[in-house]
Structure formats: C-alpha cells, structure tokens
Amino acid sequence: MDFLDAGRRWLRDRTTPAVAWTTLQAMAVAFRTGPSLRRHLAHRHPVTGTPFTFRARFQFSTRDGATNLHAVFADGRMHVGIGPLDRPDVVARLRDLDVMRAFFAPGADLFGFLLRNEVSFEGNLSYLAKFGHMSTALQLRGRQRHPPPRAALSEPRGRQAPGESKGRPLDRSTAPPTGAPCRERPDGEVRFLDDPYLARWTLDDFPRAARLLRAHRTVPPEICTERPRLLTEFLLRERERGAAEPPVLRQGRALRHVLFRKQAIVHDDDLFLGTTTSKRIGVVIYPECGGTAMWPELLTMAARDLNPYRISDEDIAVLDHEVFPFWMDENVREWARRKEGDPLALRLEERFVLYFLWKNHAVSHTIADMPLVLSRGLLDLRDEEQRREAEATDDGARAFHQAAQAAIDGVLDYADRLADRALLAADALDPAAGARAAELREMARIVRKVPARPAESLREALQSVWLVFLCLHQESTNAGLSVGRLDAWLEPFFRRDLEPVADPAGRERRIHAALELVCAFLLKFTDHLPMVPDIGNRLFGGSSSDQVITLGGVTSDGRSAVGDMTWLFLKATELLRLRDPNMNARCAPGVNSHAYLRRLCEVNLLTRATPSIHNDEVVVGSLVGQGFSREHARDWGATGCVEPTSCGRHFGHTNCMMFNLVAPLEMALRDGVHPLIGPERLGPATGDPRGFGAFDAFVAAYERQLAWLIDLSVEGNDLLGRAHQALRPTPLLSALFDGPRETGRDLIDGGARYNTSGTAMIGLTDVIDSLASIRTLVFERRAVDFAALLRALDDDFVGHDTLLSEIRTRVPRFGQDDPLPGELAARIQRFVFNCFQQKRNYRGGRYVPGYWSMSNHVAFGTLSGALPSGRRRGQAFTPGLTPAPLCGAPLTEQMRAVAGLDAAVMPNNIAFNVKLAPGAHDSHAQLLQRLTAYAEAYFAMGGMQIQFNVVSSATLRDAMAHPDRYPDLLVRISGYNAYFVELNADMQRELIERMEHSLGS
C-alpha cells in the first residue's frame, strides 16, 4: 500500500510541472488566437493613441527552488517555458508541488493560499493584478461577464453566529431606546437654542434629509473613473512632450486639469453643489497608489459577496486600457521598490501579518485650515501665492507657489461651472417646481461667491467647506482626510444668521433651516466610498472614507468651545446615524458643561455607536509633550479614527502604519522565525526560549524582535514617503495650511509647522496577557515549561485542555486590578515609545505611537497562531486598547486599568471599546445616567478616549443571521463606524465576542 502511494505521489510530482505548463500554455494559445483577448497584450490608448504593450516576466517557483516555470509577455505574445528567468518582474513562491498543482487548478482561492502561507509573491503586484484580470477574462470568455448587481447590502443569507441561541434576543428592541430626553442646561455655552436638545424634531420634520438618507442607504456604489482617466490623460501627454517639471508643479497642473474637466453635476435634493465623483455614490480610484489592486476584479466585482460595486462596461475599458497600464510601473509602491531594489521592508509588508504601510494607498490623515478658506476666500489666498512666487528666491519655492495657484484655479473653475450647471437646471425646471428653481439659483449664487471669497452665512460657510473638501479628495486619497472642528468654526456664521432675527417664530424657522443644512451637509460626505479590493473585504472592511468631524473641547485660550453649532451637529448625528462622517467629540471636564457630556452620551445611546469621546485635557497634554505649543495643542481635531491633529498646521500622517505587536512575540517564541513567513529565520536570533532561565530574558527577546520590526517598518514608511515626494505632492492641501505658504515647501516635503508620523500599535492586550501568562505559569508557578507551552501553541491547545483552563483562570490579565499586567503594559509601551521617538521621518518629524486598530486586529489575528494568552489560532486580537474578552473584570476595574496608562507614551491616541448591553427594563433616563457616569468617572481617572457600542451580543447575533432586518445597525469597530451587515463574518464574530457589560437589568 505504502509502496503504491509513494509511486502515485512520485508520478504526480513528476507530472506537476507539465500540468502547470499546460495550463499556462493553454492561456498563451488563447491569447494568441482570440482577437478579443489579444488586445489585453497590446493596444492603443483610445484618446492619446499611445501604444501599449504588456511586457512582464513571471516566474513560478517552489520554495525549494527545484521546480520553476515562467511566462513572459513581450511583443504582444505570451511565451511559456520551464526553468527560472533572469530579472523576473514577479515571482510566485509556492510551498511545494502540491500547492503548485492546486494553484494552477481552476477556481483556486488566492486568499486561502496566502492565509496558509502556501504562496507568496514578490515583485510588481500591478503586473500580477493584470495577470489576474487576464485569466479572469479568459475564464469568463463567452459567458456573461458580470451578473446584474445585487442590492448594496452584503450577503443576504444569514450566517451562523457564535453561540447562537434560538429565540428572541435579550435586547428586545432593534430600534434604539427612546424616552424622556434629559433636560440639563448647558449653562453659558448655548446662546440661541432655547431647547438645545431640539427634542421637538424628528427626521419627519426634515423630509429632504430623509430622502437623502434613503439614497445613502439604498443606492449601490459604483466605480467612478473620472479622476483617474483625466489624471492619466494629463500625465501621458506630459510624458509625451518630455516635460520635466518639479513634482509639485506637475501635480498642481494635473489637479487643475482634472478640476477643469470634472463634470458639474447637480443631484435631486442637493442643497450644496459639488460631487466627489460623477456617480451618485462613487468609488474613487487612485491608480497612483493602490488602484491597480482592482484590476483582477474588473469583471467580477459587481457579483462579489461582500460590498459589491457596480461598474459600467465603458468604465471597465477605461481602467483596463487607459488608466492601469500607465500606472503599473508608476505608482508609489513601484517607485519605492525600484529606488531601493525591492527592499526587505516592502517585501515583508506584502506578507500582511507584520505591518501595513498606509502610504501605499494614502497619506491624507490631516486637517486643512478651513477657517482660512472661510475668512479669506481662495482668491485672496491665490493672490498671496502669486505675490510670494514673485518674491521667491529659489526654484523650489517658485514651483510650489505656481502649483498652489494652478490648484486653486482648478477649484475656482469647477465652482464656476457648478454655478452654470445649477442655473441650467433651474431654467430646465417646470415652472410648477418654482421653489426648487429658486433654490438652485440661490445655490448658484453661493458657489459664485464661495469658496472664492469669504463666507458670510452658515449656508455659504458649509458650501465653501464642502466644495474645498471634495476638491482635496481629487488630490489626496479618501482615507482619513478629515474635516476638523466644524462646530467651533461655524459658530460665528450661525450667530450672524440668528442675531438679526428677534421674533421667536423667525428664530425657529432659522434654527430649523440650520439643522436641515447641517443634515444635508453631513449627507454630502456619503457621496463616495474608498476602493476596497476583495482581499481588503476579507481581511478588514466596512470602513468608509473616515472623514472625522470633531466637536467641542476648548478654544486655543482654554475656554469652552461648545456652542449652538455643537448641539446642532449632535442633533443631526442623532437623526441620521451615519457611519461617516466619523463624529468625534472632545470633552474638557470642568470647562465644558456637564450637560454637554451627558448629551454626548445620549447621542451615543441613541445611535448605539457614535460619537467617540475624548478627554480633552489628556489629549492636549500628550500633544504638548510632543512639542506642540499649548495654544496649538488645544486646537486639535481627530483624523481618520481618533488621532489628534493640530488643525491646519500639523501634517502628521497619523495612520502611516498599522503595526502588529503580536508578530514579534511569535518570533521571540521561535528564535526569530515567524510561523507564517518561516521556516527561515526572519528577525534577529534571540535564542530558543526553552533555554531561558528567567522571565526577563524572554521580555528582552521580545523587545529585540519588536525593535527590529519597528526599524523595518519605519524604513518602509520613509521610503514610501520619498515616493510620495517624487510622485504625489499635494499643492492644494498645502495651500490651505500654515507653513507651506511661508516656506514655499509642499507638505510632503516638510512644509508644515508640525511634522509627525503616527502609528497604530495593534494587539497590545494580547501581548501583555501572553507575557503575564509566561511569567505566571512558566516562571512562577512552574506549571508548564516552555517546551510544553510551545507544543500547546503549535497544537492550537487541542489536547492541552488543562493548560488552557489554567491560562484562563490563573493568569492575571490586562484590565484586572493586578500589578503585573499594569507593569508589563507600562514597560512595553515605554519601549515602543522610545524606539519610535528616536527616529525622524522623511519630513524631519517624530514618530508618535498610538493604540487603536481600525479593523486590523481582526486581519492580523486571522493570520496569527495560538498565543500564550489562551487566544486560539486565527481568532481576532483585542481591538484598540481594550481588555480581552477573557479578562472578565467588571467595567469599573477595566476602566481603571485603561485610565491608568500613561498618555504621554501614546500621543497618537487610543481606542478603548466598551460594549454595553442595554437592559430591557431600564428607562432611557436610567441608562443615560449610568452611561454618563461611566464616562465621567473614566475621565476623572485620567482616561484618554472611550467609545461605547450600546448593543447586546444577542442583537448582533440576530443581525448576523438576519441582515435584512438590520440594514442600518451602526457599530464602532476600533476608531471608525460601520454598518454591521457590511462587515465580513470574522469581524462580526469579533464584535459579538467582545466582552459585554450590562448597562442595566
């Protein structure tokens, strides 16, 4: 029998290369003979006529290097051969011949290969993406390419949720609890709102907002190719005329080209003019960053399970033939790879499990100086740039000022065309629709005025902000670009609107109008989504553009910044329950009123998940510790998720990387080998832990692996930063900032007054709990030795029940009142802080660590093995900086542990997730009183940030099984909000398994 098996195996292995060769050869023949396929290999740009030939060298190798195949694309042909290649563009490394067979079999699941560490890729991923697209095109040839799109909602089928029980959920109402509103007065902070809670109004009082909201919830997102097409066309022509301008000027002119040609669109019910894309809800493609990742999905994205996108045949052709071919060698990642000969820092990033460098996709995470736009207007700013250009003494500054003018010209032209469009739309209307025509004419009047000139009313100010913001998204990726302190900035305009109106009825009308404006304004931000390829859906997902609006806090001289507009924004947040804009609120205890904190908690209770609440004093203190003046620190707003940015003067790519703190732990356990990347040693040789005589030796090994990975991730970030300097300066954003105007340097070149790079450190709780476990069980109780522990980890604890239960019950965990986890947290956080602070980024600024995770705690967890903390293989890590589900401590104890951390070593902020189950029996007032008390006490103990999910696991389980019943169930992941039903199943499970604290009985 054995002999027979061995014989079969020998035969299979011997024939595998031939089978794979045949598959590739069949593809080559098809591409040679099928005219519709042939154009994938060579074609002309339909507008510029530029010829394109796909030239790429692919090699497929087993990891032992013994078996090699290749496919070479050249001269409009595909050639297949056996053996390795010189200078391959892409190498696919397959674990062994079994994997090679599976890889070339029809319907192979690429993600599964990556997850099992069976396949890894090196080289130009855009080439790989194109290859993926071509093989999909081949498979789908003659069939309907993409089935009609389904509804926007994900997975209409119910899924099996963990611990699912039959029967009704405990938390009975799917609607948020309602009841008597609280009536505490925000003394001194509100001037015009007699009832700052605006309790008299529901969404029914704002039919336009209700219609816009329905559109947001029902219109399927669609890929928009307008921006990439225009940008590509411009750069192709530049290249053809041999232009060699400084990058900043090229980008300024490119943006002007895009904005000059951007379609002016007016949607029904719009109160504000300007659209991010040409679609109702558009998915924006940034091919200069990771845009080509959509290439393999062009024909299938409309039918994918999770978050499908519509795309027209025309747009498929635009991307496939015009856009992606240009960028496959010219994107940020390829520039960096070429520059440094494919450095380890970037190659390792592609393994997904160590760190995720956001610069491959975006910088964005910052806040423009919108008050500058509102008070001076773009014309005045343009004049200043012109003057400074004339005064400039060096070419670099001259180029920057020219670029800024070009960019502003683009915005002004687009605004003007929007006005024309609105007037045309008004003229075309039936005279019966007189009100809408008047509205359109008023909108046209406003965009003729702003953002060119200063705004003078709330409506003008909102229009100005929106128009400038959407133009910034034509330049910077829609990932974490944030809006800023809108309540404080808009307050003067609201007052100006209200002051002349004395009679109560008139005031009521104005306030109603103001709230409608705010609702319509917030809904404008939902007109676009970030592009998420399927692997993004499977690893994370559900995220929108994460455009943070920050409310409350203090003014730069330390007074309460809460005002009427704060309360209007809170009411709009309550009414709309949007995931994005991501609402964040600053709360300055003792300066802001208690009523304000209570109202924040009430809105959180009603929306279940928003706003996220920050302790202003602590955040300001941590910024001052990083060298910000107190005045500038007080002017902070959150970006992306929670990260503090001093508005309009601080370019801090606050999400430059998402760093897996558990990876160095896995490496320290195995003498530098990472289980997903091994078997070769990756990090430094820190010794076999089975030989460690003391706990400290293990922590030291962990710290060495950690420092090595931090060095590497920083090297990768800096390299990609230089790629952005070469490819993607942002003159429009720079023109709206404190610093670049004076220095003549773009933000990406260090032109801002404050320059930092912010990181997100993920899995700290899992590391602390693991270290506490090792210390307690291996070195103190001597219940297990390292050898047995490692065996248990390799076995994922299967067959090690006693050890697992000992870990679960005998080990102190982060979140409990025990000195050990607290000391470990302090030690690791201090170490991380020191590692980063020693470094200076490519702009000369500091690296600042923070502890929040977006959704990468799920992604990294999926790819990680079992841990000494008792966490099983593939399970999500703990989100943000939160005690683990196994912690078990009561909420007060957990809050005390989190509040006890030193904010000075986590200046990029934290995300502390608390899941509270509302009691079925408690009144709104009781729940609110408790929620407020938790927040207040946590802040009194020095807590930095907190975000409540007010939803029970039972409700989430029900939503997982019946997504159609919960289309708008809002949840907070780690820093951002999502609609629960749009999350992948792993993320849904992670939310369900988060420790649930009872908010009532």
Binding site: L170, S805, L886, G888, P890, R896, A920, R930, E996
Partner: protein, 339 residues
C-alpha cells in the same frame, strides 16, 4: 470566631442593582437566619468554606492527591456530588491551589479594615459620578456589628454613601448607636408575617425583626426601604403579602420594593452539598409579580422595582472565563441573600 473579625465572602464591583448608582458590594459571611431559598448559601456559615464551581472543572483529577484527608473529587462527573454532608472538608485550600481550572475556591477571607477601605475606594470616581457607593450585604453584615460600623464609619469619612442590606435580625439598640449614624440607607427585608412560618422557612421567628423595623421606622424613616422577596409558594401568598402590607402601612412607611424570585441560586447550593428543602426552579411571570404588587397598592403603598418580565434575567453573558471570585454571586436580588 470573634464576632468582630468577620470573613468577607466576596467583593463585587460595578453593581447596578444593589442600591442607587454604581456600587461595590461587600458580602459578609455568616447569617443568623436559614431561609430555605437563600440566594447566597455560601454566606450562611461564618466559617471559611470550600465552594466548588463544577462548571469549570475539567476532570483532570489534580485535586485528588492534593487533599490531605482524601476528600477531594473532580466535580465534572455527575456522579461526583462534591461534598457529602456532613463534610470532612476543613477548607485547608490544598485542592484550590492544585486545581488548574480554578474550579474551587475558599469562600471567606479576613480583610483588615484599612485594606478593605482602600479596595472599596478604587471605584470612588464611579460612586461620585453616579450617586453610588458601597453596599454592605451578605450573609448578614450586622452579625459583625463592630466591624461593619467601623467600615461604614471609615467609608463615610471619605464621603462614600453606605447602604446596608439586612434581614433585620440584630441588636436594635446597638445598631442605632454604632452603625446607623454612618449609613445613607437601609434596605430592610421583610419576608413572612406569620411567626410560625418565619420560624419554619427562615429558621427563626420574626419578633425581633419586626421590633427593629418598628424602631427604624421611627428613628430613620427617610433612610429606610422595606423590600419583600417574592418566593413562590412561601412569601408570595395573598395572605402573607396582605399581612406584610398591613405591617408596613401601620408603621407609616410609604412604599415597599419587591424582589421577584430568582432561581439561579439552586446549583450553587447543590454544589455546596447543603440540604435542599426548597427547589423551585422557575422565574416568575410578569403577571405573577404584578399581582403581588397589586396587593401592596391596594393597601395604599407605592411599589418600587416591579419589572415587566423575568425571562431576560439570565446570567450575564459577559463572564467568559473570569477569575476566581468574580462570578460566584448571582446578579440581582442579592438582598434576598442571607436575609
């Protein structure tokens, strides 16, 4: 065992149902009564005691060789009823130390008052923000009047609101002199009006209890809340409730709180090896509770704490894993505890 050096069975933080606001609850060990429905049977005896937590047992057998008198058995198999009564166990704790799954614990730990106060003050910010404080429960805190009074005095000196949950069986004069001055509120449990029934179901008659209630209704009526545990077939009879209502009304107290029956104590008592004279296993329906409330309303009393249904009163699901000591007590209705 000295009267004034009691053992503490448990400290429960983040309690939302043992008085106003967010509170910490101190469960004293030892009770003068023997109610057959006792919610916290591990608090009946004033002595340290082994509490088995069978749901955690993995059956590994590590406890067996650890026990010096050969009494320990794994708890996982249904055949292994943990401790036969009378148990030879001396609560030495050897099996607890040996158990890798923390499936056993010793209930009853002596706390120096200073350390106890320090521990209770950890949640001070939550008391302040919520109008909460510390609740003394049990068992019966007044069984250790000197200690309880000292603890309450120290807490009150820190500005912490102290609430007592009591069965009412104490030395009224000494209570008023030593403990009452430091209390912000007294939750006084009233169970059965008939002395003979009281003796039968709670181990003593109610003469002293009613005397103390009368006394407190004169000296501290504004701090006093009478609570009636609804125990199916025992306290929830029409006759008993009417009689209790009369007592309360005659004393001039305006209201009562009702504590609907909670059967979660049953497995706890079984695991302790105590006798099971009463084993009603069902929750009350909303209708049952409402009918009880009607009796009091008919007597002109206000009724607090009537809830509209009991089926959601499941064990909190949050306790995944958890540590020793945090999950030992049933959630609500602790006042029915040793009282």
């Amino acid at each position: 065992m000295a009267r004034d050096a009691p053992l503490i069975a448990d400290l429960k933080r983040n309690a939302l149902d043992d008085g106003p606001g967010i509170r910490s609850v101190v469960f004293f060990k030892g009770c003068p009564l023997r109610c057959v429905w006792c919610q916290n049977p591990e608090c009946l005896s004033p002595a340290p005691q082994l509490q088995p937590l069978p749901e955690r047992c993995t059956g590994c057998g590590a406890c067996v060789p650890a026990c010096p008198i050969g009494a320990a058995r794994p708890l996982a198999s249904p055949a292994a009823r943990p401790l036969a009564a009378p148990s030879p166990c001396r609560a030495c704790g050897a099996c607890v130390a040996a158990c890798p799954a923390a499936a056993r614990r010793i209930v009853g730990r002596a706390w120096p008052p200073g350390a106890l106060v320090e521990h209770l003050l950890r949640d001070r910010p939550f008391y302040d923000a919520s109008g909460g404080g510390v609740t003394l429960s049990g068992g019966e805190a007044t069984l250790h009047l000197g200690f309880a009074a000292d603890l309450a005095r120290r807490l009150a000196a820190h500005g912490v609101h102290v609430l007592l949950e009591t069965c009412g069986w104490f030395d009224g004069e000494r209570f008023e002199r030593e403990l009452l001055p430091h209390l912000g509120a007294v939750y006084f449990d009233l169970k059965l009006a008939d002395p003979a029934d009281h003796l039968r179901f709670a181990g003593r008659d109610n003469e002293r209890i009613l005397g103390n209630l009368a006394r407190l209704s004169r000296t501290a009526p504004e701090r006093l809340l009478v609570r009636v545990p609804l125990v199916p077939g025992i306290t929830d009879t029409n006759a008993n409730l009417r009689a209790l209502a009369d007592i309360v009304r005659v004393l001039g107290l305006p209201r009562v709180a009702l504590l609907p029956y909670n059967p979660l104590w049953l497995p706890k008592r079984r695991a302790l090896g105590l006798d099971m004279p009463y084993d009603h296993g069902a929750w009350m329906s909303a209708g049952d509770v409402e009918a009880c409330a009607e009796v009091f309303r008919a007597a002109g009393l206000d009724v607090d704490g009537v809830r509209d249904g009991m089926e959601s009163r499941a064990e909190p699901q949050s306790r995944r894993g958890g540590r020793e000591g945090t999950s030992a007590h049933s959630g609500r209705g602790e006042g029915q505890g040793g009282t």
